[in-house]
Structure formats: C-alpha cells, structure tokens
C-alpha cells in the first residue's frame, strides 16, 4: 500500500511555509512546484477512476489513460496563470517547466517508496528518464506556445495541439518503459537524448524562454 497523500503532505508542508514567507518570483516558483505536485496527486486519482471505469489493468492504464490525464492536469495550473494573470509570454515557459519538475519529483518519490529502494542503478535510470520526459513535455508545450502566442487563433488551437503532442510523447515513453529489455532502455534514454539535443542545438532559445 502506497499512501501518496501522506507523502504529499510531507513534501508540501515546507513548501507551503516557504510560499508564505517568500515574495515575488521565488514565491511564484515554489507555487508552481507545488502545483505540479498537486497535479500529480490529482492525476493518480483520476487515472485510477478512469481505469476502473474502463476495466483496464495497470499496464493498459499507464499506456492509454495516464498520459492524457497527467498532461492535461499538468497544463491546468499554467492555463490558470495564463488566463487569469495574463503574464508576458516569456514567463509561460519557465512556469510550465517548474510545474513539470514538481510533477516529476512527486511521481519519482511515489515510485521510489512503492517499488523499493534496493536497486540504485534502476532508480537512477528511472528517475532521470521520467524526470527528463516530463521536462521534455513541458518544453514541447512551452516552446510551441512561445512561437504561437502572438495571434489569437494560433494561441488557443496551438495550445490544444501542443498538449496532444505532449500526450503522445508521454504515451510512447510509457509504452516503451512498460516493456522489458532493449525497448525499456530505449524508452528511458529517449527523453534524456531529447533534452541533450535540445540543450545542444537550442540552448540560446531555451535560455531566452526560461530567463
């Protein structure tokens, strides 16, 4: 039995205190991180609900249901930020990435407590793989939004489109890591490779996005 609510409270408590103490940009960063963790907690409930509704087993739920639920919930706090506070488009990318990092951190912690701590190498690969995958998905949406933000018709349809791309990328990752052997290894390496490529060829653009 994995009590993810208890883990959530343990990690969220110091963050909430920090949010109350900090101001400005630092507070916003903490808030997005907490939002990412909250999205992860909500995603686990909603994915389980849909899996039960469809009678899907754990593997099927992780490759067909969870990617859609997780990516939509991950975007939700940023959409709220976008629509209510109307920030500059440069601020969107940073917000999305921090939400993604919060989400990945909480997911990794839950995975770690649920699946044992013995295999350090596996946890290392899994941790980096999942972390990189969530960051890549954040990058897909944020880089796209940055370029499509200037026109209204591109803004809304573009957001929906990019969200679908992130969902597909996430689903492919989950599909690969659900296998054993070479397929799983490719799955874990794929997001890390994407991050490396993005950092190599698009470092300047990424710096502009997340300044």
């Amino acid at each position: 039995m994995n009590y993810i609510e208890n883990i959530y409270i343990c990690i969220a408590a110091p963050l909430i205190v920090a949010i109350l103490c900090l101001t400005g940009r630092r507070r916003r960063t903490m808030l997005f991180f907490l939002s990412g963790m909250t999205a992860c907690l909500a995603a686990s409930y909603i994915s389980t609900f849909f899996a039960m509704l469809h009678g899907a087993d754990m593997t099927l739920a992780s490759i067909e249901i969870a990617p859609m639920v997780e990516e939509i919930l991950k975007l939700a706090p940023v959409l709220f930020y976008l629509l209510v506070l109307e920030p500059e488009k440069e601020e969107i990318a940073g917000a999305l990435l921090i939400v993604a990092v919060g989400f990945a951190t909480f997911e990794n912690v839950c995975y770690l407590t649920g699946n044992g701590l013995a295999q350090l190498l596996h946890l290392l690969i899994r941790g980096f793989g999942t972390g990189a995958m969530h960051v890549v998905n954040g990058m897909i949406v944020s880089v796209g939004l940055y370029y499509l933000w200037d026109r209204l018709y591109l803004r809304f349809s573009g957001t929906a489109g990019l969200l679908a791309l992130a969902i597909a990328y996430h689903a492919i990752y989950n599909l690969l890591v659900a296998q054993s052997g070479a397929a799983a290894r490719i799955g874990y390496i794929l997001p890390m490779l994407t991050v490396l490529l993005a950092l190599t060829f698009g470092r300047k653009h990424l710096k502009n996005l997340t300044h």
Binding site: H54, A56, M68, Y147, A168, I172
Partner: protein, 205 residues
C-alpha cells in the same frame, strides 16, 4: 505485416520532413514552416504510438484515442497552416461551398454505421473546415498565385485520399497487399510528403 511496413514508411517520411521543416523554420524564421513541422510531428507521434502498440501487443490500441487525437491535431495544424498561407486575403463565401458540408455530413452519417459517433463527427468537422478553406484557393486563379494554388490542391487531394481510405476500410479487410486500403495509404504518405515542397513554393511566392 503490410500494415506495420506501411506505418513505418509513413513514420519515417513524417519524421524526416518534421526535422527538415524545423530546419527551414529556424533558417528562414518562417512561422509557416514551424506549423508544418508541428503537422509532421503530430502525424509521426501518432504513427509511432500506433506502430509500437502493434509491434508489442499485436493488436491496435484498445482505447485508440491517443493516436486518433494526435492525427486530429495534425489536421488542426494543417488548418492553421492554410490560414497562415492564406493570410487575410483570398476568402470566399461562395454558396457552392455549402455542398462540402452536405457531402461531409452525409459521409459522417454513413461512417457512423461502423465507427463511433464522436470520432466521426470530429473527422467530419475537420474535413469540412479543411475543404472549405482549401477549395476556393484551387479555383481563384486571378487572386491566388500558382504556387499557393498548388498547396491548396495538395490539401484537397489529402482530404479526398482520406475519404477514399475510410470508404475502403468499410468494405475491405485483411493485412495483405491486395487490400486497396494500403495502396491509398501509400498514396497518402506521398501526398503528405508533397506538402513540404508545395509550402516552400507558396512561401517564396
């Protein structure tokens, strides 16, 4: 087997052209190429998910919405691309365009005998919008340049091949080369590949 090969071919073409479009968007600082890259990327990701599922589980996805949603999104990006190429000019509200809605509506009702209502309805809406935007460009010689017209024709052909494939999938089954569905799927891949040079000419114009 033939479906796997066909999907792999389409995936390869889409991936290559997505990378080429990203390169062109980066070099020319052109948004149209960026949207074309997203169109190819959406198609490639949908194909990749479908292909991997087929390879690992030997069946098509049970709740196939991930690949389907990604393909809908590819249509959405194509629609945005049409609008980007079109700019503010060249809008036609010719009454004959209503025939498109009648045709797609009738086809939607027909396909509902096989598929589910929601996906058929979404497909019909996207096809109507694509044809609605692309068809006037094919006939307005005096307002649209030759290169842009080529792009509009490519989009109309894309929609027609989609409809042909859906029609064939209703009557023909089987994973063999004799299934005409796969002939048109190959033609579809070729048509997708043609968007890249067609957009290049339209952008230069």
């Amino acid at each position: 087997m033939i479906e796997t090969i066909e999907n792999a071919l389409q995936l390869g073409v889409c991936l290559l052209l997505a990378l080429a479009s990203i390169g062109m968007a980066y070099r020319q600082k052109n948004k149209a190429y960026g949207i074309l890259a997203l169109f190819y990327a959406a198609f490639a990701l949908g194909d990749l998910y479908w292909l991997l599922y087929l390879v690992f589980y030997h069946i098509t996805p049970q709740y196939s919405y991930i690949s389907e949603v990604t393909w809908y999104v590819a249509w959405l990006f194509l629609l945005l691309l049409l609008r980007q190429v079109q700019g503010d000019g060249c809008r036609s509200r010719h009454p004959a365009l209503w025939l498109v809605s009648v045709l797609t509506g009738a086809m939607c009702v027909f396909y509902m005998q096989w598929g589910d209502y929601a996906s058929n309805l979404i497909s019909a809406v996207f096809m109507t919008l694509l044809l609605w935007r692309a068809l006037p460009g094919c006939f307005m010689k005096e307002k649209v340049g030759g290169a842009k017209r080529l792009f509009y024709i490519a989009v109309v052909v894309f929609c027609l091949i989609e409809y042909t494939m859906w029609m064939l999938s209703c009557f023909y089954g089987g994973d063999t080369i004799t299934n005409p569905y796969f002939w048109f799927d190959t033609l579809f891949t070729l048509c997708i590949a043609l968007f890249f040079p067609a957009l290049g000419k339209a952008v230069r114009e």
